[in-house]
Symmetry: C3
Subunit: 292 residues, 3 copies
């Protein structure tokens, strides 16, 4: 049924899916200090841009024990990424950056990134699955790394620019892109291991539709919180927070109710698999109270 | 003679000796901030736990140029480690952690860890020796990495939890476990290269007996300093501190004696291959005095 | 014509060109805190010394997906490097270090390092070229890594000694050695891909002559700034700073001239591919002015 829509899904030469991730170069430009680095040391800035662009391929190579330099052997991709990098950082009056930030082109770039995301994940999953038939965790990890690598290696990309923020990483506080890639990696791994009653083409089509439409909606309506927040909160409470019903001292009915409300309030923020600092503060306070 | 005791030595499928190191998950729980991370971001906490558990296998893979993701392909080990991790961090009232910290189970866990240590070292040594026949340093390094990996990659395990303590690492100030693993790696490498007049089985047996009994004694009598301290001090003075006899100005007999006494006092602390800050302070002061 | 001078060029067993870089061990001794680490933890100090010595080989191995432990399998090199390390750090009265710092021996050591540089670069370039026929960027990168590795991994070498300076790395502010190695890597890659009308032997000879004579001149006349500064400034203005002619508001002829002069003053420092903080300050100030 879905097959007639498939021509719009990009060509499936998935294993070589190392397209540069141009959106992330643009996003470096936002980062405070990046423009300064671009003028102080173009080489560091270029290398940091390439790490962002090919982060997924590099991280997947490292995980699979392959040369991390392999993504840099595709001259076409490197030249394309370098030209974009040059235009972003050194175009007079930041004209190119402003063009990219113009709503229609922003939508196009965001959409393109999401279209390639599925291919990257599938590329990683197939590559890892061909080596580790039963190692589903390794397969998920490689798929995730390939799809969301630039986020996961952000700490080391920042180091190239002379910035080091150890207290923040993608695992401690996941961005929407990293989360949706993790879900995709799990889905494609299940499909690859024949646990899902759907063909790979159809799954790619549905996943791409979902991420593109979500991304477009997020850009259009300027939404910044993750659309998975309610699910995450539910999952978090189910898996990691059910103990609080035991550990909370049932002093009075009123108090317990208030604490529940407080928790519910905390839960409205994108908590769970990367809870807000407020909630963690609440937990911390509660823990210290208990300790007393 | 020793062969009749050998059945109690665990099975020697040494090359695949990637058992999870459950004791190190328990030890993360102690670390300040870890419980908070467990509630803020279960995924970061889980990943940090897995890095501790499989640190040795991961580090050995990296050193040998193999996929560092390979330890994650053994589903049984991963599930076992994940269940332990979950029970440690999310059991109501920290019941499971308290059980593990109960003296008999603490002894059992510490003993189990030491029993597997010899197998891990031998696994690493044999693996490296099959590739580098004469590279004794590489063989020792891989054996050491496999046996004490979780300590050696502690800096990066902390980074996952958002903590970065550059001024502390296992090379700068070795723990007892790291030291005993280094000695084991040297011994097993010498045995592997036929420099020791003892069979591998017997060496494993003797080494395991030694580390298990030392560990049990340390847990029982709550000893925190390394039992190697006197040897280390001797070795340190022989190799790295004999110069002080030259560099010390022999102004008067009394003064030299006092300085010797001061040194001897400093040497009582677990100095040598990781000297105390006091001693290094003394050295520094002496150096600056010389400079004047 | 040049062939008759070739016997003085060292033997061309380039692929195995993993000679220890003894000059960098000597240079660690300068670093504040290193002597203290040598007395607190000889093992950390030794490992940091080895990382400096074999940094190029290690980094090239990592880039090519080979075991990073391979440089440690050459016992002769390791023993040589360890003996030098021991003499530097633990010789009474720092006699050995003073000998090395004596002008003739300093010249000899600096010259030797530059003589091996060409071999290391060619080794890396040939190794990478045999795998990636068309990946010229990867070939340059491996050649560069092999020739200037100890600088490029300095951040992690420092971490072993418990020091962490994220705001400084070789990409942000390149040393002369790193720059000349990059130029060498580009030249040897072009030669390897037959874009240069010169044989490899002759190029090695000319490059070695150039780097040795420059290094000797720098040591003799105590020059600390890069001899490439004028070229770099020209290149920088051509590639990364031509926009300022657009972005600078042409308010008055006088003002523009003054700004040009200021820029020219800034440009006298080794700017461009690692501009001085003063120039970057100027750029920053200009940018904020524009923002207002």
């Amino acid at each position: 049924m879905l097959n007639k829509y498939l021509p719009i899904v990009p060509d499936l030469n998935v294993v070589a899916a190392n397209e540069p991730d141009l959106k992330s170069i643009i996003s470096i430009f936002h980062v405070s200090g990046a423009v300064d680095v671009a003028h102080r040391s173009p080489i560091a800035c270029w290398f940091s841009g390439m790490l962002c662009c090919f982060g997924g391929a590099i991280l997947a190579s490292v995980l699979l024990g392959e040369p991390p330099i392999e993504p840099f052997t595709n001259n076409r991709n490197i030249i394309l990424a370098s030209v974009i990098w040059y235009l972003i950082f050194y175009c007079p009056y930041d004209k190119f950056y402003k063009c990219c930030n113009f709503l229609p082109s922003k939508l196009f770039i965001a959409g393109m990134k999401e279209v390639t995301r599925a291919r990257k994940i599938v590329g990683g999953v197939m590559d890892a699955h061909s080596r580790y038939r039963n190692g589903w965790l390794a397969v998920i990890a490689v798929g995730w790394a390939k799809g969301a690598g630039s986020g996961l290696i952000a700490n080391f990309e920042q180091l190239v620019r002379g910035v080091w923020i150890p207290e923040r990483n993608e695992l401690l506080r996941m961005s929407y892109g990293t989360k949706v890639t993790l879900i995709g990696a799990v889905l494609f791994t299940l499909q690859q291991m024949n646990y899902l009653p759907i063909t790979r083409h159809n799954l790619i089509f549905l996943y791409t539709m979902f991420v593109v439409s979500t991304e477009v909606a997020m850009v259009l309506f300027n939404i910044h919180h993750s659309p998975f927040a309610p699910m995450e909160v539910a999952l978090y409470h189910m898996a990691f927070s059910w103990q609080s019903t035991f550990t909370e001292p049932p002093e009075s009915h009123f108090k317990a109710e208030a604490s529940d409300k407080r928790e519910a309030l905390g839960a409205q923020c994108p908590a769970s698999l990367g809870a807000t600092s407020e909630e963690s503060e609440t937990i911390k306070r509660r823990r210290t109270k208990k300790a007393e």
